[in-house]
C-alpha cells in the first residue's frame, strides 16, 4: 500500500532524524570543568515578574538580565506579569549578598540583600549587577566554583559584572 509505505518511510525518516538529533545532542561535549547544580530552571528562557524599585536600583538590576541576554547562549531573561518568579531587593538580617531558590521547574526566587551590598560595595552598581548575574546563573543551573567565573564566591564583585566564558559554555552545554 503506497500510503502505508510512504507512512512507514516517513516514520523511518522521522525516527532517523530524531535519533540523529538525540545523538547530536548527546555528542555535545560538556566543558572540561562543567559546574551544574541541577536545581535551576527547566528552560533557559526565563520570565520574572516585573519588579519596581527606584532608578538607582533598576539600572543594575536590569543590566543583570541584559548581561545574560547578550551572551552567545540560550539564556534569556524577560519580565512577564504572568510569571511566578520574583526578584526582591530588601534589607535582610543575614550575611549573604544574594540568594536563589527554585520554587518550581519554571519558578525561582532571587533575593538581593541591600544591607550587605550597601555596606561592602566600592563600585555599587557593578556590585549589584555581579550579585544578580550570579543568582540568575543559579537559575540557569550553574553551581558555585573556584575558577574565573561569575559563580565564584571570591570574584571581585566591583568589577566582574558579566558571565564569563566558562559560564556561557556551561549554559550552552546544559541547555
Amino acid at each position: 500500500m503506497p500510503f502505508r509505505l510512504s507512512s512507514v518511510r516517513r516514520s523511518s525518516l522521522a525516527a532517523a532524524a530524531l535519533t540523529a538529533a538525540l545523538v547530536a545532542t548527546q555528542a555535545v561535549p560538556a566543558p572540561a570543568l562543567a559546574h551544574w547544580n541541577g536545581t535551576g530552571q527547566l528552560n533557559a528562557y526565563i520570565s520574572i515578574y516585573p519588579y519596581n524599585y527606584n532608578d538607582t536600583w533598576m539600572a543594575p538590576l536590569d543590566r543583570s538580565l541584559s548581561n545574560w541576554n547578550a551572551t552567545a547562549s540560550p539564556a534569556y531573561f524577560y519580565k512577564d506579569r504572568l510569571s511566578n518568579s520574583t526578584l526582591t531587593v530588601t534589607s535582610y538580617s543575614d550575611t549573604w549578598y544574594g540568594y536563589y531558590q527554585a520554587c518550581g521547574s519554571s519558578c525561582m526566587y532571587v533575593r538581593v540583600n541591600s544591607r550587605t551590598i550597601n555596606r561592602d560595595a566600592s563600585n555599587w552598581s557593578n556590585f549589584v549587577t555581579s550579585v544578580v548575574v550570579h543568582e540568575l546563573g543559579h537559575g540557569l543551573n550553574l553551581a558555585h566554583n573556584d575558577i574565573t567565573s561569575i559563580m565564584n564566591h571570591g570574584r571581585n564583585r566591583n568589577s566582574m559584572t558579566t558571565p564569563q566564558s566558562h559560564d556561557v559554555a556551561d549554559v550552552n552545554a546544559y541547555y
Binding site: T39, D94, Y99
Partner: protein
Amino acid sequence: MKPQLIARAAGALVLVAATAACATEAGHAHHPDNVLYRADYPSYRTADELFERATVVVQGRIASGKQVIRVVQAPPQGKTLAAPQEAERREGMVVTVRTVTVSRVFKGAVQPGDVVQVKQLGGKLDGVTYSEEHGVPLQDNGQYTLFLETYADQPASLLNPVQAQYPVESGNALRSLPGNEISTSITQLAKLARD
C-alpha cells in the same frame, strides 16, 4: 547592651515563629520534599578579615536542641504586593536556630556565661527538608569559635557558612572545616582582641 541583645533575639524568635504559622496556614502551590538554598556570601582571605568584619567573636558550646522556624519579611506598609511577590514573601526562609553558651569572648558586647542565638539557613519544617549549599550545621554539644554578625531583630548569623565556624579540638586547637583555607588559633584571636 548584653541583656538587650539576648532579649531582642528571643523576642524576634517569637515574632518570626508566629509569622511562620501564618505562612504555613496560607499554604504554597509548590510542595517539594527538598528545597535547596543557594546564597552568595562574602569570601574572606584571613582570620584578621573575619575578626574585623564580625560584631561578635566568641568561643562557646552549642546547647542540645534547636528551633526550626520560617523567617518572613514584614509586609510593606500601605502597599499590596502582587500575588507572586506575596507568595515569595510568605515563603520566606527556613532557618535553624541554635543556642551558644559563651565561654570566652574575643570581640563584642557579650560576656562569658551569656547565651547567644545563632541561625543557619535550612532545617526540616512541615515535612520539607530545607538545606543550604555548602552549609555545615552546628552540632549539638559541640564547642566552637564563631565569627558572628548580630541583629536587633533576629538571631545572629555566621559571617560565612564555612569560614566562620571553627570546632574546638583537644588542646584548644581550632579546626578549619573542609574547604576553608583560613587557619586561626586562640592565641591569634587573643592578640587581635588586644590590638
